[in-house]
Subunit: 193 residues, 2 copies
Amino acid sequence: MQIMKDKILQYLSKYTVITKELEKAIAESTFIQCFTKGDILLKEGSTSNECYFIIKGCIRSYYLKDGDEKTIEFYTEDEAVIPLNYDTIIPSGHYLECVEETIVSVGNPELESETFQKFPELGMLSRIIGQKIMAQQQESFADYKMSTPEERYLNLVKRRPDLIQRVPQHQIASYLSVKPESLSRIKRRLMNK
Amino acid sequence: MQIMKDKILQYLSKYTVITKELEKAIAESTFIQCFTKGDILLKEGSTSNECYFIIKGCIRSYYLKDGDEKTIEFYTEDEAVIPLNYDTIIPSGHYLECVEETIVSVGNPELESETFQKFPELGMLSRIIGQKIMAQQQESFADYKMSTPEERYLNLVKRRPDLIQRVPQHQIASYLSVKPESLSRIKRRLMNK
DNA sequence: TCAACGCATTGACTTTAGTTAAGAAATAAA
DNA sequence: TTTATTTCTTAACTAAAGTCAATGCGTTGA
């Protein structure tokens, strides 16, 4: 179990120096939880008071529109999943679902705010990480807008080849905003080249 | 000129209580600047050390791809424009251009950091505003992914009718990620309904 | 073992956006 | 005002995604 905590510390150490006290505080303000394939971590319409750091596995966020699922993002190992409405009273617009067996470290605002009180440097840290996530998001939005479905697929294969293996095709399709039939055709088209 | 500063304070007062001292500090750490239509505030490849609050006018951010412009966002009155690479040494990936005559309040990190020193509550404030911007961004991404170009156009007409009036059609088209010809057809299609 | 279900693929057809080119309308410049 | 230039619209054609329907292929479960 200690290995799991280490991954979080490793993640944070990319941004700041982790003291022994801070390490202890983080260990105390999070806990490990396991989910199985298909488990829903967050429902549309409900509030969320948890955020997750993925130790192992894959989490998918999606909306429902006209009865079918529109995948927003896939999160995998060593990524933080922070619901948009985290630490607010706003009901969630999206779902969080485990694509496979998933082990996460769970954080919540009550425990966090204590830690934040004791370690003001974490405030700066969360701002920096937030900025970085925001920049990545904006970039991937720009990438998305500038690409055709075919280019988006090629891009995904290149940047996250693991997803192609571990995620059902129709979820990949909804992530690329095409119908499963179209994704099949895109793949066939690329084979004949 | 005092009226302009007031708009910033009004914006900030949505998030925190503005004391007299804070008001004074903000007034001292920003200045007003005017631009005319077509002026470039930030070039691709250059670093940015300014952020803007729009008093009046409209600013467009865009990338260049294959020679033509891809509009990322339009910013108008009472909105903050914070370049992605603000306060970093990272060269900008996008341009900022004035769509029309625009009056902004300019902030920069040197002046700001002094203010931040004196008023630690501004740190929290910037985190909250950052989170809000992030949430909006993620939501508009989701909206975008879930919609057809036609739906995106209708959505824009509904949510930001002013843009349709003040921004050239081909820039609107690039914002919706369609060619100008397609936007023309979409409009015609909608007329005949 | 075999039936049922979900998932991926394929085909025929429809719809819509991209492309190219031409012309109309609006704006800016001489 | 008149000329240029940019912007918008229209048309004909091509390419690609959506839709509907059928088939095949694994996995699950009775």
